[in-house]
C-alpha cells in the first residue's frame, strides 16, 4: 500500500471509530442511484448507472457461434469488464487484471445462478446458438464499482432485444423480441474496517477496507457470494449484512424498474 493510501486508511479508521463515514451517510445507506437504460444504439441492450460519482456502462451484443459440446441445447453468454484507464489513476491499459476478472465473474455468477436468462431460447434452427456478450465498462470509479456494474448489467438485460437469425446472419434492426429476463438480481457489497461494516463504499473506503462481501440477491434468495480481501467475518456479521442485502435488494429493484 502506498504511503498516501496508508495515511488515508488511518484517517478513515479514526473517523469510522467515531461512528461516522467519509460521506455524510449511514453505514447501510447507498449514495444517490441513477439508471439510464438503452443509451447505446449499436448495442442490443445497455444501461448507464451512476452511484454517487461512480459511473458504469453495461452493453450487450449478440453473435452466432457453436454451443458447448456438453450442452448442445443451450446458448452461451459471457461477461467482461474493462477498467477504462481514465476511470481510476490505478487502472492501467492492458489485458484484464485480477480485479477486473473478479468483478466480471461476480456479476456473471449472480446472473447465471439466478437463471434469469433463458439460454435454451438461444438455440438456432441449424444447431448453432446465440452468444451473448455482456460488457461492463467502468468509466469513473468513485467506489463500489461491483454493485454499479451489477445494476448496469441488470438494467441492460431489462432492455435487451434479441436479434433475428435469418439465412445464416443476424438481423439487428426492425421488430425484435425482448430478452425479458425472468427475474431481477442485484449485488450488494459490504466493506469491513476496524470491525465496522458498511455498504456502498466510496473510493477511499474501498482502498482502506480490510475485506469485502458481495451478495447477489434475487427476491428472497441469495444467488451468489464473493468474499474478497484478508478480513475475517463472523457468522453473525455475515447474517446481519445478509438481512440488509435483502432490504437493499427491494430498494434497488424499484429503481431498476423505474423507467
Amino acid at each position: 500500500m502506498s504511503i498516501l493510501n496508508e495515511l488515508r486508511k488511518n484517517a478513515f479508521i479514526d473517523i469510522i471509530k467515531k461512528g461516522k463515514r467519509l460521506t455524510d451517510r449511514d453505514f447501510f445507506d447507498y449514495r444517490e442511484i441513477n439508471i439510464e437504460k438503452d443509451v447505446i444504439d449499436t448495442a442490443a441492450g445497455s444501461a448507464l448507472v451512476r452511484i454517487g460519482e461512480t459511473q458504469v456502462l453495461a452493453a450487450i451484443k449478440f453473435a452466432v457461434g457453436e454451443p458447448y459440446s456438453d450442452r448442445p441445447d443451450e446458448g452461451v453468454f459471457s461477461t467482461n469488464a474493462e477498467f477504462v484507464p481514465f476511470a481510476n489513476p490505478s487502472f492501467e491499459s492492458g489485458p484484464p487484471d485480477e480485479n477486473s476478472i473478479e468483478l466480471a465473474r461476480v456479476v456473471d455468477r449472480a446472473i447465471r445462478s439466478a437463471e434469469i436468462v433463458d439460454v435454451k431460447s438461444f438455440v438456432l434452427d441449424d444447431g448453432k446458438v446465440l452468444m451473448m456478450f455482456i460488457d461492463l465498462w467502468i468509466l469513473d470509479d468513485q467506489g463500489n464499482i461491483t454493485d454499479a456494474a451489477g445494476l448496469a448489467a441488470m438494467g441492460a438485460l431489462l432492455c435487451t432485444k434479441i436479434p433475428k437469425y435469418e439465412n445464416g446472419v443476424l438481423v439487428r434492426e426492425g421488430k425484435l423480441k425482448d430478452l425479458a429476463p425472468k427475474g431481477i438480481v442485484t449485488s450488494h457489497t459490504f466493506g469491513k474496517i476496524a470491525d465496522k461494516l458498511y455498504v456502498d463504499a466510496v473510493l477511499d473506503e474501498d482502498v482502506a477496507s480490510e475485506g469485502k462481501i458481495t451478495y447477489g440477491v434475487m427476491d428472497d434468495k441469495i444467488v451468489s457470494v464473493q468474499k474478497s480481501g484478508e478480513a475475517g467475518f463472523s457468522k453473525d456479521e455475515l447474517f446481519e449484512i445478509m438481512d440488509i442485502a435483502f432490504k437493499k435488494h427491494s430498494e434497488l429493484k424499484k429503481i431498476l424498474k423505474g423507467d
Partner: protein
C-alpha cells in the same frame, strides 16, 4: 457503383444532410471525476469519451525526457461500439495507428517543455461509432486537455472530408465511408493558424479535389471550434459556486 448512387438523392445524403454539412455535434466537458480533464463528444451517432491525466511522473523511468513531458495516447473502440459484430477488446493494428496519429497532433500544440520528466496521458474511449471516430476523438481530446488546464498553443479541431462518386462530402458517416470507390480524408487543424496537424487519405483524388476539400475542412473547423469553446465556457464561466457536477449523459 449502384451502391453509391443511392447515397445522394436530389442533392441530399442518406441522413438528409447537404454535401457540405457536418452532423450535429455536441460537447460536454468535465464529465469524469478521476481525471484532470475530460470531455464527452456526441457527433452524429458517434459517442466518444476522452480523459486526460497528468502531468505526473513519467513511468517507466527510461522513457523520461529531461527536457519535456512525454505524451501518451490510447484510442480504443469498445467492442459494442459498432453496428455489426461484437469486436475484440484491447488494442489492434488500427487503434495503435490512430493513437499514434493523435499523439503527433497534440505533441505539436501542448507546451510539453513546461513539464520536464513527466507524462501526460490522453485516453479515448469510443462507445458508439458511425464513421469519423478519429476526428471526433481528436476534437474531444482537445477539449479534455483544455479542461485539464494543460497549456496549449491552440485548440485543435478535426473533421473528415470525402468524395463519393463525383460529390465531395463533408464528415462522412459509416455508410458513406465504406462506399465503393470512395475517398476519405481526415484532417486535424490548429484553430487559429490552420496548420494541418493530422492528415490522412485513402482513395483517389486530384489536386483540385483536395484543395476544395481542405477549404471545406477549414470552414467547418471554425464552427467546431465555437462548439468546443462553448463546452469549456459552460464549465468554467459558471455563476456563483463555480463547481459543476460531473456526469455522463448518453
Amino acid at each position: 457503383m449502384s451502391k453509391n448512387e443511392k447515397l445522394i438523392v436530389n442533392g441530399k445524403r442518406t441522413d438528409g444532410r447537404k454535401p457540405n454539412e457536418f452532423r450535429p455535434l455536441s460537447i460536454k466537458a468535465h464529465v469524469l471525476s478521476n481525471t484532470e480533464g475530460s470531455a464527452l463528444v456526441k457527433w452524429g451517432n458517434n459517442v466518444i469519451l476522452a480523459g486526460v491525466r497528468g502531468p505526473r511522473e513519467c513511468i517507466p523511468k527510461h522513457m523520461t525526457d529531461p527536457f519535456k513531458a512525454v505524451l501518451k495516447v490510447r484510442y480504443s473502440m469498445a467492442p459494442f461500439s459498432s453496428k455489426e459484430e461484437h469486436g475484440r477488446s484491447g488494442p489492434n493494428r488500427r487503434s495503435i495507428e490512430i493513437s499514434k496519429i493523435i499523439k503527433h497532433v497534440f505533441e505539436n500544440v501542448v507546451i510539453l517543455e513546461k513539464f520536464p520528466k513527466s507524462q501526460i496521458e490522453i485516453y479515448i474511449e469510443v462507445l458508439q461509432s458511425d464513421g469519423g471516430t478519429r476526428c471526433a476523438a481528436i476534437t474531444a481530446a482537445a477539449v479534455a486537455l483544455a479542461d485539464a488546464g494543460i497549456p496549449m498553443k491552440d485548440l485543435v479541431q478535426a473533421i473528415a472530408v470525402g468524395k463519393v462518386g463525383d460529390t465531395i462530402l463533408l464528415d462522412l458517416n459509416y455508410v458513406e465511408d465504406s462506399a465503393d470507390n470512395g475517398s476519405d480524408m481526415p484532417i486535424a487543424v490548429a484553430g487559429r493558424n490552420k496548420e494541418v496537424l493530422a492528415f490522412q487519405m485513402d482513395g483517389m483524388l486530384t489536386k483540385e479535389d483536395m484543395s476544395i476539400m481542405f477549404d471545406m475542412a477549414f470552414e467547418a473547423s471554425e464552427k467546431i471550434k465555437e462548439i468546443q469553446i462553448k463546452a469549456l465556457e459552460e464549465v468554467y464561466f459558471t455563476d456563483e459556486k463555480g463547481e459543476t457536477e460531473r456526469y455522463i449523459e448518453l
